[in-house]
Assembly symmetry: D5
Homo-oligomer: 129 residues x 10
């Protein structure tokens, strides 16, 4: 039995296949589904789990050097939410870009982890170091 860290067999397998320059999508509750892209859906109900819970779990065991988010995230959320995301991404080179451009990166990802996050534009694409 695992002592600590990520417990999910599919998440562990997917993350082990995200390597140098590979990307991974962390999706909120409403992010479009992408048939054909390997998807682990962890969502239960609204807010369970959140994108930041998944991000924290990943950063504890994996190198993340870069991330992309929609620039709409900044406009649609309050300061507390923005601060929480900034703290969670400390040390990661973060690029904001229009949501339509952000979505163009999705098909090139190795996979997608879906959450129940209700924060507007909480979606994030992380790049393996």
């Amino acid at each position: 039995m695992l002592k600590t860290g990520i417990l999910n067999p599919h998440v562990l397998s997917l993350l082990a296949r995200v390597r140098h320059t590979n990307t991974l999508v962390l999706a909120d509750r409403g992010f479009p589904s992408w048939p054909g892209l390997e998807t682990v859906d962890l969502s239960l109900v609204d807010g369970v789990p959140t994108v930041l819970q998944v991000l924290a779990a990943i950063r504890a065991q994996h190198v993340v050097t870069q991330a992309f988010m929609a620039e709409e995230f900044g406009r649609e959320n309050d300061a507390a939410t923005r601060r929480a995301f900034a703290a969670a991404l400390r040390g990661v080179a973060l690029t904001h870009e229009p949501h339509v451009d952000f979505k163009k990166r999705v098909p090139a990802a190795v996979g997608l982890i879906r959450t129940g996050d209700t924060v507007q534009y909480a979606n994030m694409i992380v790049v393996s170091g």
Copy 2:
């Protein structure tokens, strides 16, 4: 897009196949895996999500009339934990039995939802009304 309630496609499909007299296992972090039993693993890390979060999500949309738990649950947990489970199961006929007997019910279930719950013996088998 779903307005409310359970968001997960696999969980929704599995629950729709739990009908009169069918059973479903809600498993904690360490419950043995059962190859051959349809399994939705929602676990991320310790405590995400909990068995009670899954139970609440199910009871909001499904009829649950009966439940089974290990009698070890009562001995191994404090009063607060026991009260939380009792509250979550209000209105459900609950049977406590030795863990070895509880496990014999698993192969007859329609499926199993795994959580990251760290409460001792938090596992539960729920019976559809």
Copy 3:
């Protein structure tokens, strides 16, 4: 057991994957089949079930903000039928377009639910809010 609403495991799973900007096709009895597109065929015989029964079931649990229909629908049906569809789509931004253009939208959908509907051009593409 589900208390209410949509009962079908495959329909529930498909709908949970129709999210922001994703589309879903509701097809009548004679609409062409699309090999490669995820399809739930609910048809039994003529008129069982109808597109409007499926639409009502979806709108009770899902956000639908936009819809597309063939403009031939208006020409080929009587006033009662047109009124029934208009009522069922109240609050949804509806676009009529030539049937040949309508069909070009199909391959981009997440899936298709087929009915036994015999109303001419009853097909509809709904967009998740």
Copy 4:
């Protein structure tokens, strides 16, 4: 395009494999699911479609000589419901038996068609002539 009768590809395929002495289960909304048994789920919402709609569609194209129902059906339903089922089964040798015995016949069936029927104990096992 089919001129008339059953429209559903999976239902047509399943029925063509129900031959001399083979049996088929018609299940209501709440009948237990049977993993491993070929299942066509036509249910949409409560009452769509009904067991009698499926039975009528089958009898129009297939020979049905025998049927089984739970004896609880008679006790739990009113005269109108009982008359409707009797009419739908005219010419078929019908056996009532306890529901627990009825369920023992299910694993030997070639398949199961699930409906959204809400009539109590509406389930039926039909035998091909």
Copy 5:
């Protein structure tokens, strides 16, 4: 058990998916195989069954409004054969075209039924009404 008509589960399923504007290929003994196209091979030996047997079975239950054949059919066969095909296609709008053009229509079909027919250029593409 089916009372009458087409008996084959796969043929029934395939035909139920040939709808408005969809096409179906009826192939003779020597017509090229098309990997990737859904194929039901009914052939046993030379002449069992024939394309016209399959066509008659389809027309009894399905609407066929249009058909394509190779123009080589007319040149390579005697008057009796040509009359038999003409009779079998009565009421269907028939187009003859060079075999090389005919073959370009194949990949767009919903499926192909192969026979053991030994008539030269007996192949036919039928269009659902």
Copy 6:
């Protein structure tokens, strides 16, 4: 392209796997289907093809030393039919047995070829030499 004989890829593959002491079922229109048994369904409509057409095709290329039929075959058919089957099985050691016993041999077969034969009890189990 095959010069002569059996044309069907699946039939050819199945027959090549029927070897010393292996058995093969030739089934008529109404013989029960056997989920789990490899099945080639050649049936189109009533009488297309017949069991004797399949048997002749097999005997031309394969050694058949033994066969089983239901003893009901003799009682239910006229002299002409009985003579046709006797001729087709010349040189094969034929055993008649009650249909209920005949059916017990089916699960041990390597496969089943289904026809559209309407002759009563036309079913046959052939044994490879």
Copy 7:
């Protein structure tokens, strides 16, 4: 049990799908593998079996009207080998072309049969009559 000829179920099935204008690749020991092309690998060790053994087996039961080989075959082999191939292809229209052009025909084939042949450039693409 087969009386004579090709014994292999997969080879028989593949050959039955090589029809008018379809092509088949016969490959030697070292010919590149083609992921995605249906392949029957009959090779055991060097020289078991040979391309000419496979060709002879095919020609006994199938019409072969045309063949392609690499023109390097003539340069790299002695007169005895060249005579053996010429004899085996008597009556077939044979085209020699550069190996790089020969390989461009491979993806359009219905399948590939691999041998253990050690003759240089023994590969052959045969066309069904």
Copy 8:
């Protein structure tokens, strides 16, 4: 590219899974097929390849310590054939037993390699050292 030895990917994979006490069946042309047992069919036509060719290829790279054959092999074959098999099995502990007992060992094997061998009772079960 392999320098020498067995060339066949499936044979190599199967042999690598035959380890201490595991068994492998080498089957002649007419040995019954065993649905469910992993099978590599190398047969082309009568005598291509032989059981002894496969055995030699295996012994060059694998440890074989024990073998089983039908005692009918000795009675049905001439001295030359018996000598050839004896030579090929030198150093292996060989057990002859009735063919009916021999066949009971088959289901426990890891796999079966089929040849085109026409020697009577040439079948052999080899045990990995």
Copy 9:
């Protein structure tokens, strides 16, 4: 990209499914293969990798409380080897039993990791805490 620890996606997925009371087999170079048991084969050549390398990798991240080995291990190996295994299993309750009994535990395991270990009887069944 993973910072440290086990790198293999399949091994990570398998280990995450080994929970309370579940067992896992670590197999040496020659241990019998078990069709039907989930297997990760990490072996390259003799001694790459070893059972103790896999055990160390597992113990760094997983709770192992109990282990089984063949009692033949002690007899067949020298003191250095025995000391290395003892050190690697420090803190784990180790049971030695006859190899024939040890092998009876294998089918109940969740999976098997195969190594290239050449130490006699290096096989081990570990039990999750």
Copy 10:
């Protein structure tokens, strides 16, 4: 049981499909994963196994005539590492090219073997002779 050499069934199968002009990728710990490319992941932890261990195992049994590596390999590693790779590739025509060009060759490979190698830019594409 294999006497010597590569022990892994999947590696043996993959290598047997790398033939004239086919290529194979040997990947280090961090090389990007390529969904869709056949992959054997042998990695356990850092440095187990290494690219040179895999290369040595391959060269013992296979012809390798050409190899490609990233030119960054030379700049990022010390003399000892460079000498070890040079020795392991003796007799192979080695091309260094920018890593971005190197990666363009990957999709054309027959497969990829992943190691746990931690040497910078240890990745290698080998070409079969």
